[in-house]
């Protein structure tokens, strides 16, 4: 366990080596949030509703994606593909340590930094904008939301590792990865709550894994879902984690057999 703590700590330290990069990355994040935020204030004037959302609900949703994505979707593991392609994977394979455990620990370190900054930035936004924000007080919803976020974090990690594993077969992992993440973040609900989509489409999305990364935990937080719907959603998340786990282990083991430990 201590090794993973050390890895998380090293990741934390490393982030602050590149202070300027980190800060510019955060600024980009804030700008993104502000863009979506102002777009929705324009679309839904106060005291009106749009596709069932009041301005306050919609803005809460948008601000919540900021926090939730800093936990669920902040990751370092996109480097796995490069590790494979450049042969850096070798030095990990030589150690009595789980490579995915290593990356998950790095992610925890990364998420901790990002969460910290998200909270700070959000506080700043609140002081400047005084946005209407819905505070959930029901402990059931809060606990379920945290559970859902944790499962979403694991699910997203598997996605990221799977994308990285393509490095075994191809040098060109950047392109597919980029497209995949654009789609993923759209279907996860990072731009708008997914239930404003047409019913048919939403019915399909509900059974895909993506909405459980952002949309679902936020909806739980907002108190919009019944207990039954929450249980169903958590089960679907669990199912996808199982599927991804099997898929990743298969792909990983196949990949290792053709791994060439390039260039060293």
């Amino acid at each position: 366990m201590r090794r993973y703590v050390q890895i998380a700590k090293n990741t934390w330290d490393e982030t602050f080596t590149y202070r300027f990069s980190f800060i510019t990355y955060r600024i980009r994040n804030i700008l993104q949030i502000l863009t979506v935020y102002y777009l929705w204030t324009f679309f839904i004037p106060q005291n009106t509703t749009f596709l069932g959302y009041t301005q306050s609900q919609m803005l809460t949703y948008i601000l919540a994606t900021m926090i939730v994505s800093s936990v669920v979707m902040a990751t370092r593991s996109q480097a796995i593909g490069n590790d494979i392609n450049q042969g850096n994977l070798s030095s990990f394979l030589l150690k009595p340590m789980n490579y995915f455990g290593y990356w998950f620990a790095r992610d925890i370190g990364d998420k901790a930094v990002n969460l910290l900054f998200s909270i700070a930035e959000l506080t700043l936004l609140f002081m400047l904008l005084h946005p209407p924000f819905f505070m959930q007080t029901n402990p059931f919803f809060l606990v379920s939301a945290i559970l859902s976020i944790s499962l979403g974090t694991i699910l997203y990690f598997y996605f990221s590792v799977l994308m990285g594993c393509f490095g075994f077969w191809s040098n060109e992992i950047w392109g597919p990865r980029f497209v995949f993440y654009q789609l993923l973040s759209f279907f996860a609900g990072s731009l708008f709550p997914l239930d404003i989509l047409p019913k048919n489409l939403y019915a399909v999305i509900e059974y895909l894994p993506f909405s459980y990364l952002l949309y679902f935990p936020i909806k739980i937080y907002l108190g919009d879902l019944s207990i039954l719907m929450i249980i169903k959603g958590l089960l679907i998340t669990g199912f996808w984690i199982g599927v991804m786990h099997l898929l990743v282990s298969r792909v990983w083991n196949k990949g290792l057999r053709i791994y060439t430990a390039y260039g060293r």
Partner: protein
């Protein structure tokens, strides 16, 4: 007791080929051609505990591939490998705790952080006790003289300094089996010597088996009694370095310094003439006649000094490869 046994190991790579230039690139996008390259071709050998073996061969001979197979990085195409009773590719944690692969051209250190952060992490990964960590780290740091560099971020270190840190990181868990791929590459002569001394010490202290590749024959000569020579993926010699010298250099070199001038004609009968530049005279003599010839020379001629030498290893290795090509 054999620590490593390799039998009929083969490893092939599948690589795609591309013709030179833009048209080649375009062609490669549409249809890619692959070819299979044998890197290691049916090799077998055994290494005992405590042995230090030099693994020699030209670039691309298959040395590094073999080391990678032995340390579990690569899946062998054919054949079996046994290291300390484990099958390397399974990468059993117990196995990984007992071995280390040091590559002169690669880095496990965290680039942006001081080296000691990597050391601390390795301490946790290998479950090294505080006590052992302290002693071993202290030893290594003192030997390699890197005390004041421990707190400097790795990216600012020089190549040689990084190599030292790399060695420390790889040896903290005191592995029983050590695979070294060009451990002295890029180091200055003083440092090379230090690393050799260190490896010799390490071998003695832990009775560790060491398999090392190097382009510096000095490394091999000083450390290894036994060498395995590999070329085009096949083993062409496996035996004592001394025997290799006997086999490929049947003659010894005798160098004599005269204290007064001698007529070159008088010297012809002693052996094969190499050079004569007063006061130095060099001849080649068959190994078994070295003693008698030297005695005769000492008796007959005004000798100030005599040196009996083996031809240098590098020359012998060149000779081995040259013969190989002709076959």
């Amino acid at each position: 007791m054999p620590i490593i046994s390799v039998s009929h190991l083969s490893k092939t790579y599948r690589v795609h080929t591309k013709e030179a230039g833009l048209s080649g690139t375009l062609k490669a996008i549409v249809s890619r051609e692959y070819k299979t390259i044998p890197a290691v071709d049916d090799i077998s050998f055994v290494i005992d505990s405590g042995e230090v073996v030099g693994f020699i061969g030209p670039n691309g001979a298959g040395k590094t591939t073999t080391l990678k197979c032995l340390s579990g990085l690569l899946y062998p195409t054919k054949g079996t490998i046994d290291v300390l009773g484990y099958e390397p590719f399974k990468r059993d944690y117990q196995f990984l705790r007992e071995i280390s692969l040091v590559m002169g051209q690669k880095n496990q250190l965290w680039w942006d952080l001081p080296a000691q952060e990597t050391f601390l992490l390795n301490k946790e990964i290998y479950d090294i006790s505080d006590e052992q960590y302290k002693t071993v780290l202290h030893d290594l740091v003192a030997l390699l003289e890197v005390e004041e560099l421990l707190t400097v971020s790795v990216k600012t270190l020089s190549l040689g300094q990084r190599m030292k840190m790399e060695l420390i990181a790889s040896l903290l868990h005191t592995p029983k089996v050590l695979f070294l791929d060009e451990p002295t590459i890029g180091l200055d002569v003083v440092m090379q010597q230090k690393i050799r001394e260190f490896l010799r010490e390490y071998n003695k202290k832990y009775n560790a088996s060491i398999l090392l590749t190097s382009h510096y024959m000095g490394d091999v000569e000083e450390l290894c009694k036994r060498v395995i020579i590999i070329n085009f993926g096949k083993i062409i010699y496996d035996g004592l370095l001394a025997d290799l010298v006997k086999k490929f250099a049947p003659e010894k070199k005798i160098r004599i310094i005269f204290h007064e001038y001698v007529d070159p004609k008088k010297l012809e009968k002693y052996g094969k003439f190499v050079s004569f530049q007063f006061p130095e005279w060099v001849i080649h003599v068959p190994r078994d006649k070295t003693n008698t010839t030297t005695a005769a020379i000492l008796k007959d001629l005004p000798v100030a000094d005599v040196f009996i030498e083996d031809p240098d290893i590098e020359g012998i290795i060149r000779e081995v490869f040259a013969r190989e090509k002709k076959i």
